[in-house]
């Protein structure tokens, strides 16, 4: 009896511990390959060179163009998702009645459940042709339409996390504002949003992290040309797209070219890891505040 209990607890512990193994695995895989990479390419070159042509004869290993591509698509996505998502959160929390909310929230969640290849398809076959009619000279692969579509995808992430944050603000604060004759708008922006600001910040950071790591939309619609530019109208390449591109080309194991995807991978990982930890930390802090 006691023994089975112990064994079961051990098994359960093991399944939990596997998650640690996964993290260790990720870090080990990324590190071991990139250590080999950085023994041939200096870290300084990696972060300062302005060109990325590791597969060509004249090899240049500056990740800045990939960072620029990632930054550009992410910035466009957030520029779309943040105002819309936050407005939705406030609207649903402050104005909409419960039945409307109950219908709309799951509908919005659909946006987040659609596979990202599908978004890529839209960006390429619907949004880009449409934008090309408005913006002559817009390339067929471009950061603009990939970023916008990615923005649509992460709207529900911002709206529902922000809504959660606003709902977590004690109801008594809202009542206090109403009780003083504040309008809903005044209540929302004067009291609720400031009180929920850390939660909203968390939602934004997580959305950024999501956009930075997003792969298929940019791989399909943003292009595959590493280019140090902030021009949203031309093809760019993100870190994720580069990994896909090399994976499709099947660069042989063990070569320097092969290791570039791990060097890019670890850079991507560090970015998202930092963002996630910042958000985790902020969240812990504000949760403590309310408990």
């Amino acid at each position: 009896m006691k023994l089975t209990e112990k064994i079961i607890e051990g098994l359960l512990w093991l399944s939990a511990a596997i998650t640690i193994l996964v993290t260790v695995g990720i870090i080990w895989v990324l590190l071991s390959e990139s250590v080999a990479f950085f023994s041939e390419v200096s870290v300084i070159e990696f972060f300062t060179d302005t060109e990325w042509t590791p597969l060509f004869d004249v090899k240049r290993f500056g990740i800045l163009p990939l960072l620029a591509g990632t930054f550009l698509t992410t910035a466009i996505a957030i520029a779309v998702a943040l105002p819309i998502g936050l407005t939705i959160a406030i609207y649903l929390n402050e104005y909409a009645d419960a039945s409307f909310r109950a219908v709309i929230k799951p509908l919005l969640e659909i946006l987040a459940t659609i596979p990202t290849v599908v978004y890529g398809f839209f960006a390429l076959t619907v949004v880009t042709p449409f934008l090309q009619q408005l913006i002559p000279g817009l390339a067929g692969f471009n950061a603009l339409s990939a970023g916008m579509v990615m923005g649509i995808m992460i709207i529900p992430m911002i709206s529902s996390l922000s809504e959660d944050a606003i709902s977590a603000v004690p109801k008594s604060l809202r009542e206090a504002a109403y009780g003083m004759g504040a309008t809903r708008l005044q209540t929302a922006f004067g009291v609720m949003v400031p009180a929920a600001s850390s939660g909203i910040l968390v939602s934004i950071i997580l959305a950024i992290s999501r956009a930075v790591g997003e792969t298929m939309i940019v791989a399909i619609a943003a292009g595959q040309q590493p280019r140090l530019t902030l021009n949203p109208l031309v093809p760019v390449e993100t870190m994720t797209t580069y990994i896909v591109q090399v994976s499709l080309g099947d660069v042989p194991h063990g070569s320097l070219e092969y290791r570039t995807i791990f060097a890019v991978g670890i850079t991507l990982f560090i970015f998202t890891f930092a963002l996630n930890n910042i958000s985790f930390w902020i969240k812990k802090k504000y949760q403590e505040k309310y408990d």
């Binding site: 206090a176 504002a177 009780g179 003083m180 004759g181 309008t183 009180a195």
Partner: protein, 254 residues
């Protein structure tokens, strides 16, 4: 019952949450410059009634009222009434102190600021006046620009009262304003209520019968959505007419 003017009056009031009838045909009047207490067991509708008096339940899904609430003889549920205007006349203090996570000063002047008043001197004068009224001034005058959340519970509650007074209401509603406080803070607030009734009409919900006895002039006893008995406080506690009232005040239930 008395000769004062009726400040607030409920006429044939029913209130629903969806299909649930939370208040059943309430008729009662609250007189000017008196303290009226609502007592009754948990869930009997005290808070619901209090909140109909400044339409705080307007945004609660499925909530609706039938009948009338008259403030200075005018129905507050008429179409043309603007709730924000109404709430400037009928202030409210809640069970748990709920200062905004801002400075003490910002808390007090919040109601004025959202009305668009930005005259510094006026704001400062009002702040000082209401903080003095609530006997907080000496305690906070050196930390007006510190966070209100650093105050003790009792101070926070007095701050909330000050905040409500700053917009010069004529009625102040209080929903169990001391139930989250220690005995000393409670005593301070009770004193304050006594002071305030010179200038305001006060309506207070309380769980604590001793408190009702101490601070109120009139008491209304609610039970399961009904107003069972309404009388001068002394009368109600010493010679209740209804057995349900009798049972409640002697602790038979609740």
């Amino acid at each position: 019952m008395s000769k004062k003017k009726n400040k607030l009056e409920a006429i044939d009031l029913n209130a629903y949450y969806g299909d649930f009838l939370a208040l059943k045909n309430i008729n009662v009047s609250m007189e000017e410059n008196l303290v009226t207490a609502f007592i009754g067991p948990s869930g009997c509708g005290k808070s619901t009634f209090l909140r109909t008096l400044n339409r705080m339940n307007d945004y609660v899904d499925g909530f609706r009222v039938q009948g009338q609430i008259l403030l200075d003889e005018q129905d507050i549920y008429r179409k043309e009434v603007q709730v924000d205007e109404l709430r400037k006349q009928v202030g409210m203090v809640f069970q748990k102190p709920n200062p905004f996570p801002k400075t003490i000063y910002e808390n007090v002047i919040y109601g004025l600021k959202i009305q668009g008043i930005s005259d510094k001197t006026l704001l400062q004068e009002t702040a000082e006046k209401t903080l003095r009224q609530t006997t907080l001034w000496d305690e906070v005058k050196d930390k007006l620009h510190k966070s209100a959340l650093a105050l003790s519970g009792g101070q926070q509650q007095r701050l909330c009262i000050a905040r409500a007074l700053a917009i010069s209401p004529s009625v102040v509603l209080m929903d169990e304003p001391t139930s989250a406080l220690d005995p000393i803070s409670t005593a301070k607030i009770e004193e304050l209520i006594y002071e305030l009734k010179k200038n305001y009409t006060i309506i207070i919900v309380t769980h604590n019968m001793q408190q009702a006895a101490r601070v109120s002039d009139h008491t209304a006893f609610f039970y399961m959505g009904e107003l069972v008995e309404f009388a001068k406080t002394k009368t109600l506690f010493t010679s209740p007419k209804e057995t349900r009232t009798q049972n409640y005040i002697t602790g038979r239930f609740g």
